[in-house]
């Protein structure tokens, strides 16, 4: 088939198959995608511009709203950069509590992505079960932080809310009933022959492509890339260095591998949460040595549910940051669709795109 017989299929920016606006121009030969053009910029909110005009504490509120799913990861990464500039040591109890919310966020994010995968594949029952389980996690997060989203949990030098003994007991009780439910869900998804046959071998991102395209998070780990910031880099605002868990890595790089990585990561998250609740150190949740944020540069990295998040903060000695650059994981992962979608069936475009767990608002900030 020659090039003149190709057909350009435009999807978006407003389209029935899209949750958020993006434009995909798929050049197809028959049903096979031969070229992809991605256009973004439809939900740009000028967050970095806003941050250059707000003080540090207003900034925490702003960055919480970069992403509705990772609204704990963003402020944690932001305050971690400021703490680095000011040399603030975060109390151990606060580091554990930040990690606790971070892992609950990972579970609810991975459940949401699994639910979406089930919905795209027409498996509505499993979609509803995943969403129900996610609701329970959100209830738990509300119980701990006081909010279902935009948790207002972080501040410079620690966290804003402690967990008392009774609350720890309640959280443990909730987790004890949630864990078998979620583990059963994982087993159901991973043993479902329809789901496996529909996702195995499609949307493959090879190890080399994953490295070349600098993808991060579950997308990278599903292609065999040994990359998880929780293990690989220092996170002085978190407590991962004191906790035992495994990196989840798959080799095939297809949609099924990405689903598997997220599901198995939830098991590791439960492990982490149990250790936190068991060993939560006593002590303050907020530093007592407050210092003004001096002139400097802070580079903070955090393993958000979708992958490595980075905040690059430059301060000039005033209470307003000079420059805050945010690199959300979706910014690199979505770009990889340019390669993943090539030679795939048009019918698989939705499930492949969904398997990247794209957050268009997050990446466009």
């Amino acid at each position: 088939m020659n090039r003149s017989q190709r057909f350009v299929l435009p999807i978006g920016p407003i389209h029935i198959a899209l949750e958020e606006p993006i434009q995909l121009k798929l050049e197809t030969e028959g049903n096979i995608v031969k070229n992809v053009q991605l256009k973004i910029g439809y939900v740009h909110r000028a967050i970095e511009f806003l941050l250059a005009n707000r003080d540090f504490y207003q900034g925490i509120i702003v960055v919480e709203r970069v992403c509705g799913i990772c609204s704990h990861s963003h402020p944690t990464c932001f305050v971690q950069a400021l703490e680095q500039i000011a040399g603030i040591e975060v109390p151990l109890r606060a580091r554990y509590l930040r990690t606790l919310i971070g892992e609950l966020e990972r579970i609810h994010s991975h459940l949401l992505n699994t639910a979406i995968a089930c919905e795209i594949l027409g498996f509505k029952t499993l979609f509803v079960r995943c969403m129900n389980a996610r609701e329970n996690i959100k209830d738990l997060m509300e119980g701990i932080t006081g909010h279902r989203g935009n948790y207002a949990f972080n501040t410079i030098g620690g966290v804003r809310k402690d967990l008392v003994e009774d609350e720890i007991h309640e959280v443990k009780k909730s987790l004890d009933s949630l864990e078998p439910e979620i583990f059963q869900l994982i087993e159901t998804v991973l043993s479902n022959s329809t789901l496996i046959s529909r996702t195995k071998g499609i949307g493959v991102l090879t190890y080399q492509d994953a490295v070349d395209l600098s993808v991060v998070g579950p997308v990278a780990r599903a292609s065999g890339v040994d990359l998880d910031l929780r293990k690989d880099v220092a996170m002085p605002g978190a407590a991962y260095e004191f906790l035992e868990f495994e990196k989840v890595i798959e080799k095939d790089g297809d949609v099924l591998s990405r689903i598997k990585v997220r599901l198995l990561e939830m098991i590791e998250s439960f492990k982490i949460i149990k250790q936190i609740l068991k060993d939560l150190p006593k002590g303050p949740i907020l530093t007592k040595k407050f210092v003004p944020i001096p002139k400097g540069i802070g580079i903070s990295r955090w393993e958000a549910p979708r992958g490595g998040l980075i905040y690059y903060c430059i301060t000039d000695g005033t209470d307003i940051p000079y420059r805050v650059k945010i690199r959300a994981p979706s910014f690199v992962n979505i770009y990889a669709l340019n390669r993943i979608l090539i030679n795939q069936d048009v019918a698989d475009v939705t499930i492949i795109s969904g398997s990247i767990d794209p957050c268009f608002s997050c990446m466009q900030r």
């Binding site: 910029g41 250059a52 000079y322 420059r323 690199r327």
Partner: protein, 119 residues
């Protein structure tokens, strides 16, 4: 045009460095140049390629070695007015393609530097 960026990027790539992101900002002390910084991860440690660009200078793109740099370079072009080689005119914008004030972050930072000078 500076010609050694691509070579340096190739060396980093050969060492196994992974591209993270590109940060740009107006030099806070003098306000006379735009600092452009490509960040890389090499075995968990941060490496960087940094250069200070004149306003509207054209810099060598490292897209050939690190394809993922494309959106970051386009973002720098539209937010700071720095050019990277190898981009057709219609691809120079990324986030603000529907319009908006040209080089918004450059303008904000120019105002900050100017305020600081008059304090």
């Amino acid at each position: 045009m500076r010609i050694n960026l691509l070579d340096k990027a190739k060396k980093l790539k050969n060492l196994g460095a992974r591209y993270i992101t590109t940060v740009a900002y107006l030099k806070p002390d003098t306000g006379d140049k735009v600092v452009v910084r490509h960040l890389f991860d090499l075995n968990g440690k941060l490496e960087e390629l940094t250069y200070e660009a004149e306003f509207s200078e054209t810099l060598e793109s490292i897209k050939e070695v690190y394809p993922a740099v494309e959106w970051s370079e386009r973002e720098v072009m539209e937010l700071y007015g720095i050019e990277f080689s190898g981009y057709p005119e219609e691809e120079k914008k990324l986030l603000l393609s529907s319009g908006g004030h040209p080089f918004p972050l450059l303008e904000v930072e120019k105002q900050k530097v100017s305020r600081k000078r008059h304090e």
